[in-house]
């Protein structure tokens, strides 16, 4: 190839390194890293620090891979929604094929490396998570049912289970309850956002609960899921990863979340419009804190254990 051939590349706008990082959805990745770290550290089996750090990196890479696959598949939706139209694929900075290639390659690398670094069970769980998010959620159910958020939440709930599996090589009631905690938390968290973000999902053809069942029904759904979340959090606090501290934190967080959800269900759109969705925004912000503090409590309990404190 001569130097003049490089002119052919000039026509395409070059993607920066940051654009490829954007494909991996770094904000989602940060939640994955946090919950996977907690799952790994609260497990009753200690893991060598190098193996632990490498495993978390590969779990994060796997999450990023599923993000890239999602961006490849959903480029048509992203292109018509205000919030997402500047993403690397719809904006034309990254070609769809590149996003697909990156997603597939990183999926393979992350699963294989987690299998070598930790164990095959954890690697299998990571592979299942990637397939679940990219195929079951993105390709199949996201455009088919208004319960898409509930199903998508399952993919986000796997990381602590994978972290636990890195340490123990299996599943237990504790890891299942950590899964259930994120699984039940996702719908009220997201629907609270959907109430005040008013995305143009209908233009994109995505059946969002606020559009298909109306905003009143969404408010009821938020309360029901929050009510179902509370026993999961408290049950997790009663297992071996919990203790008096976690139980106290869990009761306080769940009570607060329930009060917020109750206030949401009591309001109508006119009231919400009047104060610019103050309650919905407050509940959404609190939901982020809820997950952080609940998992933080598990971690604190594990940290206190060597000193004879923490745990039951």
């Amino acid at each position: 190839m001569t130097m003049t051939d490089s002119r052919t590349f000039d026509a395409v706008q070059d993607a920066s390194f940051g654009d490829y990082v954007q494909l991996l959805k770094p904000r989602v990745m940060s939640l994955v890293v946090f919950t996977a770290v907690v799952g790994l550290l609260v497990a009753p089996v200690s893991v060598h620090p190098v193996i632990g750090v490498a495993s978390i990196l590969f779990i994060a890479l796997g999450a990023g891979a599923s993000g890239a696959l999602n961006m490849w598949w959903d480029a048509d939706i992203d292109a018509v929604m205000k919030r997402t139209k500047s993403r690397p694929v719809p904006s034309g900075r990254v070609q769809p094929g590149e996003a697909l290639g990156l997603g597939v390659a990183l999926s393979g690398i992350s699963v294989m490396m987690l299998g070598l670094a930790a164990n095959l069970f954890a690697a299998g769980l990571l592979a299942f998570t990637i397939v679940f998010y990219a195929v079951v959620y993105s390709m199949w159910l996201k455009r088919a049912t208004p319960q898409n958020i509930v199903i998508g939440g399952a993919a986000g709930a796997f990381p602590p289970m994978i972290g636990w599996a890195v340490a123990t090589g299996g599943v237990s009631i504790e890891s299942l309850l950590m899964f259930a905690l994120i699984f039940m938390w996702t719908p009220p968290h997201f629907w609270a956002l959907a109430l005040f973000m008013k995305e143009d999902y209908h233009t994109a053809g995505v059946p969002m609960l606020t559009v298909t069942h109306g905003r009143k029904s969404t408010r009821r759904h938020i309360f029901v899921y929050t009510a179902l979340l509370a026993p999961v959090g408290i049950a997790a606090a009663l297992t071996s990863i919990g203790g008096p501290l976690t139980l106290a934190v869990s009761i306080a967080l769940n009570a607060w979340f329930l009060i917020g959800a109750w206030r949401i269900v009591q309001r109508d759109e006119a009231q919400a419009e009047a104060d610019k969705y103050a309650v919905e925004k407050a509940v959404f912000r609190f939901s982020l804190l809820y997950l952080f503090l609940h998992f933080g409590a598990f971690l604190a309990e594990a940290a206190l254990r060597p000193y004879g404190l923490g745990g039951w």
């Binding site: 390194f17 190098v50 490498a54 990196l57």
Partner: protein, 69 residues
């Protein structure tokens, strides 16, 4: 002797991306190396499952059940 041609504009444009990919690859090599060192020094099982009888896997008291390797 002719001088080197100045780098093409494309190379300057892609410099950041190339450095990023390079650093990532160095990082991956570092992780794989660290993992190897840890696994070898900890004495994790290194034998391949090659369908050969491995006497060291048998229980010390010689009460292995029939059919176990």
């Amino acid at each position: 002797m002719s001088e080197f041609r100045p780098p093409h504009e494309m190379h300057q444009r892609r410099f950041g991306r190339n450095v990023g990919v390079g650093l990532l690859l160095v990082g991956l090599i570092g992780i794989v190396f660290a993992l190897t060192v840890v696994k070898v020094t900890r004495g994790d099982p290194l034998q391949a499952y090659d369908h050969q009888l491995r006497p060291e896997m048998l229980p010390l008291d010689g009460t292995a059940k029939a059919g176990t390797p």
